[in-house]
Symmetry: C2
Amino acid sequence: MKTYYECIPCLLQSIIRLFKNGLVSKKKQEIIIKKALRDLSKNAFNYSPPNIAQKMYKIVKNKTGNKDPYKDIKYKYNKLCLGFYKELKNKVDRNINPFYEALKLSVIGNIIDFGTNHSFNLIETISTYEDIDFAIDDSGLLFNDIKNANSILFLGDNTGEIVFDKIFLETINHSNVYYAVRGMPILNDSTKEDANFVGINKLVKVIDTGTDFPGIDFKQSSSEFKKIYTDADLIISKGQGNYESLSEVKNKRIYFLLMAKCNIVASQLGVKKGDIVVVSNNKIYWD
Amino acid sequence: MKTYYECIPCLLQSIIRLFKNGLVSKKKQEIIIKKALRDLSKNAFNYSPPNIAQKMYKIVKNKTGNKDPYKDIKYKYNKLCLGFYKELKNKVDRNINPFYEALKLSVIGNIIDFGTNHSFNLIETISTYEDIDFAIDDSGLLFNDIKNANSILFLGDNTGEIVFDKIFLETINHSNVYYAVRGMPILNDSTKEDANFVGINKLVKVIDTGTDFPGIDFKQSSSEFKKIYTDADLIISKGQGNYESLSEVKNKRIYFLLMAKCNIVASQLGVKKGDIVVVSNNKIYWD
């Protein structure tokens, strides 16, 4: 996906959110925001939004020396979501359609996000998740595609959210799934440390992309990741960062599972901001 | 008021809003946004938000050659609000407290704004205005100060909104009021043309600030404006632009009448975004 004008304020907000969360010292803040504005003035429209987010985050890393400002927040959300695990797992298992229930939970988990300009109330959303419907529902197609796939590559997104992905992976109980996380810390995205912490490594093969790109960028990905992507029959892609990277891929069977967190993505998908979708890439209308 | 980090995305949004409203040709948009980002990277924190808005708007004017991009929108809102005039004027006149009713309408009219990052539904808000209360209500103090003032300077804000100011001015029926508008077009702010169009010039003396500053900047103001400001016993200041310019003035009796359209101003005033206030400058806690 290209970068739209509306993405610029949103990308700046994601830096300001770091400031507000007290993750950048006061004296570094002005230096960082000015450098971000300068870089945006040169490069904003040559790259996709996750590309720019990566560049912005690099400024923060370089200027603060902190390679993982969201470390504590990531841990907090993993712990918080693990606290819901048992209750939700039981709910899914007792449901007449565990697949659908686990899928919905996994997508609702995508509400946890510090990279986009959206505020969220995780606990309230989880407590009312049964009343939330998919705005685009290709779950039937996905169910069949999972059944028929020899190998699946699941592209994870945020910490906390991965606990819900775990329930989904347990539910589909497929014998050949790769779960991909980011190769290095970026925003509140999951790395191997997070996947291991919530126990995904006990269910499926956890790999990483080889880069801190908050989405998928084949130019930066490791050859291991690229091989697994190429060989997989089916890609299950969580979240906006992965969607923004792969939304124009046509030669691969991809399902995008996400909450639309901005008007640009919502409008591309023909849904409202805040809606959850499970959508096959065959159904997306391109720019 | 100084410019906060959160003001930057908001100020960029006000340019993007011009794009979305089709007021800037596609080929100029990228040039404008890049220049705005470059200027912000140099100057953002040396100026107040209205200062920066003026600079951003100057970029638009210079690059497009259009000195008044909001011309049609301003006319539309003046016409629309004039359409409500009779009904609302009757409502105010029949009320047991016309002053309070006219004051509330005038502040609610401040909802019309294309300079801040807030969306609004004018017609819905007007139809339910009787249910809306002031979050800070210094209306009693204001009433007395108006009664005792020999001369009043009313600082107008947006087009459309000025129709509600007209009802207020008719209601207070004070013999010595100056109504100040911007000296040149900026955003959707009112100029003399608008004040005359809605008939304010038939009620009080309409003056202008002598500049296109979307607030008050004494460095740029005409000497006529400065003299009237200095001589006035009482300043009634509408909207955020005027508030952001004068919020730190202590040697003058000022009442700020506004809808808080962003979290920064809301939090300075101790209210919620979207709240309406009529607040004396003695009651404001400074940074």
